[in-house]
């Protein structure tokens, strides 16, 4: 090792393990709230842990923009329903300037007919502002299957990578951390689905996978620090090692989380309607990922590990060369 080790030798200004009890209580509490949300959602008429969107249930969503000059014609939803396919749900958006209609999956010919009757009943509508999304029911169940599969595969991939680069204990920890992040994020969206009618679509799955890939970052930084410390100060207790590692990386973790959420906030503010909940899921996931790498894993390490695996792999040295 060529580097000086002054920074590693310094007494940590902050010891995470002093707050172990608080961290654990908070974690259990958050997990409880999340699981409660998922369960309540299952017991509610939604009958699923999350309120599934069009991508999962299949169906057709048609959105039209009305030309409102000088003012939008008023209309009655009852009248409208007569001319639409049975079971259609009509929603007025943007104070009546846009109308969305959701039905079972329609063929392109049938969706075209719906747009025409909307034009006739609410018209004129802006032809270039029309949006049609149809997902066949078959596709929806396929998406659910492949989403779960992708989540499992990426978890396994990350766990294998970490066990190769560090040790099996760290891999198990990272896996726990990922599961925790996913449960908390889905839990929040279960509550949002229950209370605000927020639906999850395929972009939510994308957000979960992205969170999984990203949230390990901060955890890895701490693992890396522990590994480095062990070479300089091999005789410290596990608790001391962990405290030092957290204290030494706290600021950079805080900064990297900030730098990642700044663009996400820009996306929430200006990304438009279709990316709004996706960006919210990312924001929440990154924050939860940050918390779990500081408040979940480090206090657990001394309890589980007894002794930290002291493995200085050759490839690390190579990488640093």
């Amino acid at each position: 090792m060529t580097s000086s080790s002054g920074a590693l030798l310094r007494e940590p200004s902050f010891r995470i393990n002093r707050y172990r009890r608080f961290c654990m209580v908070l974690t259990v509490f958050l997990l409880f709230i999340s699981l409660l949300g998922l369960m309540l959602s299952w017991l509610s008429p939604i009958h699923a842990p999350l309120r599934p969107g069009l991508d999962f249930t299949g169906g057709t969503l048609i959105q039209v923009e009305r030309i409102c000059s000088p003012a939008c014609k008023s209309f009655s939803t009852e009248e409208l329903r007569k001319d639409l396919p049975s079971g259609a749900v009509v929603q007025s958006l943007d104070s009546g300037k846009a109308i969305s209609v959701r039905t079972a999956a329609l063929s392109p010919a049938e969706s075209g007919a719906v747009v025409e009757s909307l034009d006739r009943l609410l018209g004129p509508i802006q032809a270039s502002g029309t949006q049609i999304n149809t997902i066949g029911p078959l596709l929806g169940s396929q998406l659910l299957r492949s989403s779960l599969l992708a989540l499992i595969v990426s978890f396994a991939g990350i766990a294998i990578y970490i066990s190769l680069r560090y040790a099996r204990l760290y891999a198990a920890m990272a896996l726990m951390c990922l599961t925790h992040d996913v449960i908390l994020t889905t839990g929040l969206f279960a509550w949002l689905g229950l209370l605000a009618g927020v639906e999850v679509d395929s972009l939510f799955v994308v957000a979960l996978l992205t969170i999984a890939g990203y949230s390990v970052n901060d955890t890895v930084v701490i693992f890396d620090r522990i590994r480095e410390q062990q070479q300089v100060l091999p005789n410290l207790s596990v608790e001391d090692q962990v405290d030092r590692a957290v204290a030494g990386t706290l600021k950079r973790s805080f900064y990297t989380i900030t730098s990642t959420i700044l663009p996400i906030i820009a996306l929430i503010l200006f990304g438009g309607e279709s990316l709004y909940w996706f960006a919210v899921a990312l924001l929440v996931g990154v924050l939860i990922g940050g918390w779990s790498s500081i408040g979940l894993i480090p206090p657990l390490l001394p309890l589980l590990g007894g002794k930290l695996p002291n493995r200085v792999s050759a490839n690390t040295a190579e990488l640093q060369a």
Binding site: G136, L151, S154, V221, S259, A266
Partner: protein
């Protein structure tokens, strides 16, 4: 220093190259950004085929490609997705009804002779069919409103033993009877003598003295011979030649006695159904493209109007610029001089990213842009790890040069690990994903790979360049925050 100068030259060359690439190759925008329709067609197993082989998938794709070309939509694309799906993108098309009609039907053309001894039944059914069609036209108000004698229809229904119940609406019942009538007409024909596979071309023309159009066919040699033999066998009899499309009779014609010796030769024929100009054109496109080897079903339809697309572009552009600006301000406030260098590297990063999108090419979709925006935040993460490390070394009393060098080399392993885990997730996403999801995975993966390069090479080289000016070689430019232990 020569090594560093080499890097600097490389970075400059890449920057200039990127600008040139972006000037000559336009970025391709997805349909959610430019407006248009995307149809996903699922190939369905039929008959003995239980699993869709790759060769069949390609065969279906070829047919669909020819049909899409026939539709005349510019820049339309046809791609396979997964084992059994084909994605058709039609930029600028807002109402996908016609495209769905043309692409979604199998278009299997069959030529059949009428069974002997069924002439009388056929005459009755044909009359019923015409009366039903006229009546339905009248009821729906689409026809020429020629009044139909209800009595003759009723008589005919009675003689053919078809009952009308009073329960369902008249229109629905008539439609059901028409469907049944068509089925019965088809059943009066023998198995196909030959099929549309022997077609080499199709065209259309307006019939003389009529509003209606006909579709003309040209056969290859085998098809010509088969057609001659078929027409010869029924020439001069009262039996009809039936042309079926997907099991539905679209034309029934008698063959005159003058063809009894040789049949209709010359390898050409025409279908004189009562086609409108549009129907004739669509059938021509389908026949020219050939029949689909397997039936397809449209399982996904996404249509976005052009103004919505433009709005999406505007929104995501604002979000991207704001994201970069916010991150830039953050970096300069926290890290001063190195932060400024990181912002320069970030700009290079954005430039390289766009150039790679144009080169691969990556079709930019809304989630794709979100992936790019997110990767901006992740790209500076690497710089933060490095600069924090550099600060630590400086606080330990090391020289500036040494601190910077150690900062870069020591931060590398955790940067590398963090990037790999994100890439693993991207790979899972790309593997799972279709369309939109894959768009996000690709841009995020490109971003993560490029950020490894820019954070480690560009920032480092630029920082060294900055350090070569003695005036800037002051630790307080690097330590930034004044509260140091």
């Amino acid at each position: 220093m020569t090594k560093s100068q080499g890097w600097l030259a490389l970075i400059l060359a890449l920057a200039i190259g990127s600008v040139l690439v972006l000037r000559s190759l336009p970025l391709s925008l997805g349909l959610d950004l430019r407006g248009g329709t995307q149809l996903t067609l699922l190939i369905k197993p039929a008959g003995t085929i239980k699993k869709i082989e790759p060769t069949k998938l390609e065969a279906v794709k070829d047919v669909l490609e020819r049909r899409v070309n026939g539709l005349g939509v510019s820049e339309a694309t046809v791609t396979t997705s997964g084992d059994d799906r084909i994605v058709v993108q039609l930029p600028g098309v807002q109402d996908p009804r016609r495209a769905a009609e043309v692409l979604g039907t199998t278009a299997m053309l069959e030529f059949r002779a009428q069974k002997p001894g069924t002439e009388q039944e056929m005459t009755g059914l044909m009359r019923l069919k015409r009366l039903l069609e006229a009546k339905i036209d009248q009821l729906t108000g689409t026809g020429k409103a020629a009044s139909v004698q209800d009595d003759s229809l009723k008589d005919l229904l009675k003689t053919l033993d078809i009952k009308i119940s009073a329960e369902a609406s008249e229109l629905d019942q008539l439609k059901a009877i028409l469907l049944d009538t068509n089925r019965r007409i088809v059943s009066l024909f023998e198995p196909p003598a030959f099929t549309g596979t022997h077609l080499i071309d199709a065209g259309r023309q307006q019939q003389q003295n009529s509003q209606a159009w006909e579709v003309t066919l040209r056969f290859d040699r085998v098809g010509g011979d088969e057609f001659a033999a078929l027409t010869k066998s029924i020439a001069g009899t009262n039996r009809l030649l039936g042309i079926m499309l997907d099991g539905r009779s679209i034309s029934e014609a008698s063959v005159g006695p003058q063809f009894a010796t040789a049949g209709i030769t010359g390898g050409a024929a025409s279908i004189t159904g009562q086609f409108s100009a549009e129907q004739a054109r669509d059938l021509e496109v389908q026949l020219r493209g050939g029949a689909l080897p397997l039936p397809v079903e449209i399982v996904e339809n996404r249509s976005v109007g052009p103004t919505l697309g433009a709005e999406n572009v505007r929104n995501s552009l604002i979000a991207a610029i704001l994201g970069i600006v916010l991150v830039g301000i953050f970096m300069v406030v926290i890290y001063r001089l190195p932060g400024f260098v990181a912002v320069l590297a970030l700009c290079l990063y954005a430039l390289f990213n766009l150039a790679v999108y144009a080169l691969i090419p990556v079709t930019l979709t809304l989630p794709g842009i979100a992936g790019f925006i997110l990767s901006v935040g992740m790209a500076v993460d690497a710089n933060i790890l490095i600069f924090e490390r550099t600060k630590e070394e400086l606080q330990d009393g090391n020289s500036l040069f040494r601190s910077v060098d150690v900062g870069f080399s020591r931060a590398f392993s955790s940067i590398f690990d963090g990037h790999i885990t994100t890439l693993i997730s991207c790979a899972a996403l790309a593997w799972l994903g279709t369309g939109l999801v894959r768009g996000f995975a690709v841009t995020l993966a490109v971003g993560v790979l490029l950020s490894l390069f820019t954070a480690l090479t560009c920032s480092r080289t630029l920082l060294r360049l900055v350090l070569s000016y003695p005036a800037l070689r002051r630790p307080e430019f690097f330590l930034g925050s004044p509260s140091q232990p």
